[in-house]
Symmetry: C2
Subunit: 386 residues, 2 copies
Amino acid sequence: MNNFEFKNPTKIIFGKDTIDKIATEIPENAKVLLLYGGGSIKKNGIYDQTKTALAKFETIEFGGIPANPEYSILMDALKVINDENITYLLAVGGGSVIDGTKFLSAAAVYEGDTPWDILTQNIKTEKGMPFGTVLTLPATGSEMNSGAVITRKETQEKLAMGGPGLFPEFSVLDPQVIASIPERQLVNGITDAFTHVLEQYMTYPIGALLQDRFAESILQTLIEVAPKVLKDPTDYNATANFMWSCTMALNGLIQKGVPTDWAVHAMGHELTAMFGIDHARTLAVIAPSHYKFNFKAKKEKLAQYATRVWNITEGSVDDKAYAAIEKTESFFQELGIDTKLSDYTKDYDGTAEKIAKRFTDRGWLGLGEHQNLSPDKVEEIVKMAY
Amino acid sequence: MNNFEFKNPTKIIFGKDTIDKIATEIPENAKVLLLYGGGSIKKNGIYDQTKTALAKFETIEFGGIPANPEYSILMDALKVINDENITYLLAVGGGSVIDGTKFLSAAAVYEGDTPWDILTQNIKTEKGMPFGTVLTLPATGSEMNSGAVITRKETQEKLAMGGPGLFPEFSVLDPQVIASIPERQLVNGITDAFTHVLEQYMTYPIGALLQDRFAESILQTLIEVAPKVLKDPTDYNATANFMWSCTMALNGLIQKGVPTDWAVHAMGHELTAMFGIDHARTLAVIAPSHYKFNFKAKKEKLAQYATRVWNITEGSVDDKAYAAIEKTESFFQELGIDTKLSDYTKDYDGTAEKIAKRFTDRGWLGLGEHQNLSPDKVEEIVKMAY
């Protein structure tokens, strides 16, 4: 087991009818900017519940934060924060709205030339503007971590940021919000959370027995509840387990003391930036090829995953490991997720070369848990995913 | 799943040679009271490492905090805190030293008549004197939670306290400290952590799939590493998994959204108060009788535990549930822990009646997850444990 540090101060408020609790979490004299996305919260009642809870606060609204939160739109929000002397941010949405709010939390206190530096120069935020969240879409885990990913259309870039000052002060998780989520976004959420676990688990054995078992617990739970959530998103117990699994998948706990990969995300982000494919679907496209390409380095963990998560007990290590990749791809497909790039675009020619070049240009010369996945290997993996 | 709130702000610093990191965690101008137990830290090098790390701070020492931290001794430490204008507490020890330090953190800021009120009136501490810990004995989880148990010999009482202001600011967990722990204390630690999980898990199914699997993960890990730790306490990987399992067993995570029992601890505490039996051993004495007495209410969970943790797949629910109790008792015995009260004292006659009367006097009329374990039932369970 590797040395590690772990601190996660976010307060989780989980359960039925908990949105009204934000009233006691936000400081009394706060001037609040309420941030949200495309407006679905106005149809499903979450907007009204939030506004009622915010009654005693001076509140300004900023809607329209898109999936893959866009830099130029966030810069408009930053102007509102500055012009209106906002002191507290409240994100009501999924990972995109929360990630966008984290960027704003950092940008609001950033003293450099342009907030874009935070992304390109990888500037860690030690203390941002305080914010809370009301989660409307379980998937990214952003509600209980300090990281964010921001997109800039102008340059077709998608870059990560973070820092210890970017944990939400609180996050309200009411599983009842899931009832109104379109199926497309539900399957995205399941796939996203599942892949988050794989990125922190599917590496090589390092004797972190508890972390491995926790990771497997989340995978087992997602597999168990996924069909129930899709069949009936008002099934409270299934949705509650789904929601809590998504949060635990990326709140930092399971990555402590172990090597992590994240190459699937690095490649996937480029597919979103280039083709606008849903984030989760890009992960399902890349992951099977990535595991096949890196089979030798990952086969012990793949075999352990096969046995413990998929109950595959027959065959050699190689047999089990290969069967586990097949099971994973089938799982995504059964959710209705296509797992080849050509299922999403006919325009895929040259994509692998382009991604490899971007990684080379950025100096990303060794991705993955061994930091040896060079751009030429990335090119091969992406080609395998066509 | 039940509604819940979860917040745990303790920073964990885990791994080899991490004690020197306390230097950057304690505020620069702090006046530190270094608290420890019977002095074993002076033999195993932990005292020297701590003193070196504290070089830049004005530090006063208070040693001699005993197992089951004693109120009268802690009152001596409180006098030092007040007389010397201490601003920061550093606990270097196991659960007893850390629990004692939590009491002091609360008492140092308490404005009522006598700090004993904190225990008898169940006063929650919202903000105590800040403190950190260096864990020398994995067992209680006190290094990452906000609870403590304090003993008062004068009245033969052992009472719990806590509050959101009593999380350690940081805890250093260096598994290398385990090499010098006597076997008796190692087996106590394993038994304590194992029982902590059972108290939060062995109730009734409530559909909290992820919490169940996390609890089972800790139990599986403890079972796997226990013999390795006892055989060779310098086996870094085994001790690291043991240490992290103990912390995760009682840092609040696995109890969120589920019913909890804690009746085993309530009864066990009385055996420690009356006979001075090691805390963990009292749990091993009470647990099997408790589960047999409450068999009907707990058998579904017992059977799940049988299958997932002990790989017992044959037989009816009742068969599996009963076998799981046997397996648990055998596990304790294989660690070298006696599981009957008569193994510890010949003076046990009347113990059950005495404990039942104490619970009645305190108004503890319904313990356990159903709050229906009345003093007459407690009396029967303790008798079964003779």
